[in-house]
């Protein structure tokens, strides 16, 4: 039998820990809790968790500082941040500081379980952290991800930033279904309150420009679920 994954819960709300800890234990995890940042850093050393569920607002060392210290120590540890300050900047800061994912409070138990399990399934990159591709190609289509420009052969295509963002996101996940909410968040940012209607309009503009350049339907609609790039994508650099 595989060992039960180890979770460290960090939150200064004892009521939440008292309820969340038994729930996660019954869901198949070994769980230890910490009520503040200092305690969390000590328990990471002694308990050696696979994943830390980390609240941001805490007295003393806050969640961001704990996150930064943990990342300096261990790049492989999964960290799920519990974001609770209203606004998107909080989440962007969490992701920039090295969190693997975030979950907005309040959350249903099904959601927290799904996020934890998804993170634990995610393979850790073994190489240096900057593995981000810079240029993508598909047939005569060429996307420069640094300059945010798209070319068909030598001709630059008249696409806006959002269209290029959508195209890049789909090409980076070529062959896979990219769900609507993931695309919206990747291109417009979290909490942008953009519905699928704007994404649809953006994809329609993109398709038309690509089809004008004799690129057949490279973007497939998966009804009600999302979109998929169906061309063969090469990472050029």
């Amino acid at each position: 039998m595989e060992p039960r994954p180890k979770l460290l819960l960090v939150d200064d709300e004892t009521e939440l820990l008292d309820s969340l800890e038994p729930f996660l234990r019954r869901s198949g995890f070994q769980v230890v809790s910490a009520l503040n940042g200092e305690d969390a850093l000590r328990k990471v050393e002694s308990f050696e968790p696979d994943l830390v569920v980390l609240d941001i607002l805490m007295p003393g060392i806050d969640g961001f500082e704990v996150l930064r210290r943990l990342r300096r120590r261990d790049k492989q540890l999964y960290i799920l941040m519990l974001t609770q300050v209203t606004g998107a900047d909080n989440r962007i800061e969490a992701l920039n500081a090295g969190a693997d994912d975030y979950l907005d409070k309040p959350f249903a138990m099904g959601e927290v379980l799904a996020r934890i399990r998804a993170l634990l399934r995610r393979p850790r990159a073994a190489g240096p952290p900057d593995q981000k591709p810079h240029q993508l190609g598909c047939g005569n289509l060429f996307v420069d991800l640094d300059a945010y420009r798209v070319f068909a052969g030598k001709k630059e295509l008249a696409l806006g930033r959002k269209e290029i963002g959508v195209l890049a996101c789909l090409m980076l996940h070529a062959g896979a279904l990219v769900p609507i909410d993931v695309l919206v968040e990747a291109v417009w940012g979290p909490d942008a309150f953009i519905t699928p209607s704007s994404l649809y309009a953006c994809i329609s503009r993109l398709r038309r420009v690509l089809e004008d350049e004799a690129q057949p339907c490279l973007i497939e609609t998966v009804y009600k679920a999302g979109y998929r790039f169906i061309g063969q994508v090469e990472v050029l650099r």
Partner: protein, 240 residues
């Protein structure tokens, strides 16, 4: 982009943020308690009651997120670019006809754009194309939602002096006179739409988005005959 008329509302937006923050932890604890109870051997009736508790929690959370979305729209960064508004209207109608999920509400309603399209001098406004599309889409979606199946929805694009009027006209259930002054207030829902899905935040979001563009909305309606919602935006020439 800032609209002076929004400033008195900032206190409300801050209140939504505080409310959202204050309620988050208690809700998270209740969710966790429900999660624990799911592991108990409850009777089918007990499980059903838990489903009800969780359903109501979801509703409360949706409501808080909706209120926060109004507050966020008032402060979120928006683009300031020149926009050919006819293009925005066309994309909106195409999205309403064909976007995944849109057909359930808008399908079967003929959606038609009138005016301005053939004109050489197409109206231009300054703002954020995506948020204007969202604003117009919500009005078109409402027009379809509150109309009988197959009833047409017409959109008119008409410059009026320094302003641009985008008028969405439906032949739906209409809005009672007593509700008209309250449209756009957060969580306000007219008596005629009780029992229909919605939080009463769509027009509040519309008000904020238009306010961020220096605009506003106007509503004319007659019960049983239909509604005309106009999005009023300053033309780019006026803002120069």
């Amino acid at each position: 982009m800032k609209d002076e008329r929004l400033i008195p509302e900032q206190d409300w937006y801050r209140f939504y943020a505080r409310l959202d923050h204050a309620i988050k932890n208690p809700l998270a604890v209740i969710y966790a308690c429900v999660g624990n109870l799911r592991y108990e051997s409850l009777s089918p009736e007990g499980q059903g009651r838990l489903d009800t508790v969780e359903g109501q929690l979801d509703e409360l959370r949706r409501l808080l997120r909706g209120l926060r979305s109004v507050a966020r729209l008032a402060e979120i960064e928006m683009e300031e670019e020149q926009i050919d508004i006819v293009d925005v209207v066309k994309w909106t109608l195409e999205a309403a006809r064909e976007a995944p999920g849109a057909q359930e509400i808008c399908g079967g309603h003929p959606l038609t754009l009138h005016g301005a399209e053939g004109s050489a001098d197409r109206p231009v406004v300054i703002g954020d194309r995506d948020y204007l599309l969202e604003a117009l889409y919500s009005v078109v979606e409402n027009a379809c939602k509150f109309s009988p199946p197959g009833a047409p929805v017409d959109v008119w694009v008409e410059p009026e002096g320094d302003w641009l009027r985008i008028k969405v006209v439906d032949q739906g259930i209409g809005i009672p006179d007593e509700d008209l002054p309250h449209l756009g207030k957060e969580l306000y829902r007219g008596a005629s739409v009780h029992g229909m899905p919605g939080l009463g935040l769509g027009l509040a979001r519309l008000r904020v988005v238009l306010g961020r563009h220096g605009g506003h909305f106007e509503v004319q309606s007659k019960e049983g005959e239909g509604t005309a919602v106009s999005l009023m935006l300053p033309l780019a020439s006026r803002r120069d």
